[in-house]
Amino acid sequence: MSETVLTASSIISFTQQLENRSAAFYRKLADRFPQDGDVFLSLAESCEKIKQSVVRTYRETISDALEAGFSFSGLDLAQYEMEDTLEEGVDYPEALRTAIEVEGTAADFYQDVADRSRSLLATISMAFKGAAKQRRRHQHELQSLLESRE
């Protein structure tokens, strides 16, 4: 996921991988920390919904007349690689901090691609903006959870 890419299709594939991985990460957290399992499963579900929303928007608005192949020049996906490894025996606050970082990385990614996709249809940019907002909401929720547990 670290290659330089330029096409809209690449960005959509990256989004799918990002959300699949995030959802898997939250399901793992739910297993390890069942005291807040419902919260993590709900975040996993939210990641699935973000993925569906972005992919659906892309498919519904992509057009051969748009600059889909040339809209994301200069984007470096390497900076949006998620650090989602949970060490064996990691304690709960540390796991939450990792989750907060995951959300921050995802939100930054969506904000970046939202800005770059302005030359495509507004709906695509808006879908990315919506995803960024959603991931920021996740981040705040996790932050509150962390504060309540510390």
């Binding site: 498919r59 051969d64 748009l66 192949g69 040339f70």
Partner: protein, 502 residues
């Protein structure tokens, strides 16, 4: 970057679809070759005249019943077809890339634009409504009814194997007509898949037929007495000298959307980075094999001093060449690829011939697309990189003729009027774009330019499904265009009734 999975694993044996049956042909079979891998992915029949006649007979026999089906029921078939196309969206898009070569984003864009026509045609109960006026004289009312005409022939080209059939067929069928569609035998798989889904959507036998073949099938469609009209997209010589003439002789109505040589005019007040981004898709998207592709980049001096113009011209050319040079070339199923191959090596040779001709005519080849880096270990047979010519004059073949490949000609213009004169000097009139931040320039351009599709800060002036796909001069022959309300009018007869009751 990995290659997306190919949906076609084994070569498909394509058959004709006639009267609701998949029928083999007695004609020879041709290979459908993936232009990237060089592998055969399907074989397609070259159908005989008799086989075409059977399809027309089936369509003619289905017509009286189909026209009686209420418009709302026909609309529901369109809704179901749309849903089925959505379900198979990704597969259909990847098939386009396999049979044509275009990049996956372009294929998905083509799928979307095709589906949009099905969506618009689903509005047929409203679109087909007539008009009514009471009391045109005392006690007399007059009204207009739109009635379907019968059987239509649709002949589609290779460059948009999915979309172009859908510019016509959904409107024809939704208005109560029946069709016989002949796809390009170079990439006929998508149209075959579409009719599979049309069958699943509940269209009765005989309403939507597909007959594969070559010139004999086209001739048969043109001359068949039971075909009311023809929709054709292809080259200007065929559209003008064959379709228009033969339809004129046989009294058929016709839509012939043909060739192009489109100009993009860049004014000094243009947003250059966004202009260049739009131009990349326009000049090199679909590897230049598109009738809406811009081919001549006109850089206007307008009010600039000679010195300022030299700097502006150089900025535009440098950015254009830089972006073109950076385009990734390879298999369209590789998501990092922006430019795929030409449809086949023969088409590449034709484009290379134009590059040679440009050099012979004295133009400067600033970017030579014959020398390019190919992403992936594929045969180079059908690939060609983007080329850019400078020092081009309007009398050169590369500036006048449709190259249908990734070649751009940069031309200097004194001012906007000079640029418009250049556009008018060209025999084609399909599309033209202006890049400017000046509303007056945009209006003058839109008002004066004799082209069917105008882009203002738009590289590809492709009309949405609810607007007609227009065209002028040698780019269009006929009266009404494909898509939207004009397609509804094309596929229906206007019957006027004047009524009085004693």
């Amino acid at each position: 970057m990995s290659i997306l999975e190919e949906p076609i694993k084994q070569p498909i044996t394509i058959k004709n679809y006639v009267d609701g049956e998949w029928v083999d042909s007695d004609g020879e079979r041709r290979d459908v070759v993936n232009p990237v891998t060089g592998k055969t992915i399907a074989t397609v029949p070259v159908s005989t005249g008799d086989e075409l006649n059977q399809a027309v007979k089936a369509a003619s026999e289905a017509f009286p019943m189909w026209r009686e089906v209420p418009p709302l029921s026909r609309a529901r078939c369109m809704f179901r077809l749309k849903e089925l196309l959505e379900e198979r969206f990704e597969e259909l898009s990847r098939i386009q890339t396999m049979e044509h070569g275009k990049a996956i984003d372009e294929s998905r864009g083509e799928t979307r634009r095709g589906i949009e026509n099905v969506e618009v045609a689903a509005g047929i109960p409203s679109l087909m409504m007539g008009d009514y006026l009471e009391d045109i004289a005392t006690g007399i009312d007059e009204y207009l009814i739109r009635q379907p005409s019968g059987v239509f022939g649709i002949i589609t080209p290779f460059n948009f194997p999915f979309m172009i059939g859908l510019w016509f067929a959904p409107y024809a069928v939704a208005t109560g007509n029946c069709v016989v569609l002949k796809p390009s035998s170079e990439d006929p798989i998508c149209q075959t898949k579409i009719v599979e889904l049309a069958e699943e959507a509940g269209l009765p036998p005989g309403v939507w037929n597909v007959v594969h073949g070559g010139r004999d099938v086209v001739s048969g469609i043109l001359d068949h007495p039971d075909i009311e009209g023809i929709c054709f997209v292809g080259s200007t010589p065929v559209g003008r000298d064959v379709i228009a003439r033969r339809c004129g002789a046989t009294g058929k109505r016709y839509i012939a959307q043909c060739g192009a040589k489109n100009f993009a005019v860049v004014m000094p007040d243009a947003d250059v980075p966004r202009t260049i981004s739009a131009c990349m898709t326009s000049f090199y998207g679909n590897t230049g094999q598109r009738c809406l592709a811009n081919a001549n980049l006109v850089v206007c001096q307008q009010d600039l001093s000679d010195q300022a113009y030299a700097a502006f011209y150089q900025e535009v050319v440098d950015e254009f060449v830089g972006a073109a040079e950076a385009a990734t070339i390879g298999y369209g199923l590789d998501e990092s690829v922006q430019v795929g191959p030409l449809r086949d090596p023969g088409k590449k040779e034709r484009v290379v011939g134009y590059i040679d001709k440009g050099l012979e005519e004295g133009a400067t080849l600033t970017l030579d697309g014959r020398d390019f880096e190919l992403r992936g270990d594929w045969p180079r047979d059908a690939f060609l990189g983007p080329s850019v010519f400078e020092d081009v004059t309007l009398d050169m073949a590369i500036a006048r003729e449709e190259i249908f490949g990734p070649v751009a000609c940069v031309i200097k213009a004194r001012d906007l009027n000079h640029a418009v004169d250049m556009i008018h000097d060209n025999p084609f009139g399909n599309a033209a774009s202006i890049f400017t931040s000046n509303g007056e320039h945009a209006r003058v351009f839109r008002y004066r330019v004799r082209c069917g599709n105008i882009g203002v800060n738009i590289g590809i002036a492709a009309p949405m499904a609810f607007f007609p796909f227009s065209g002028m001069k040698d780019s269009f022959f006929g009266t009404l265009h494909g898509q939207g309300r004009e397609a509804i009018r094309f596929f229906t007869e206007s019957k006027v009734v004047i009524e009085r009751w004693f």
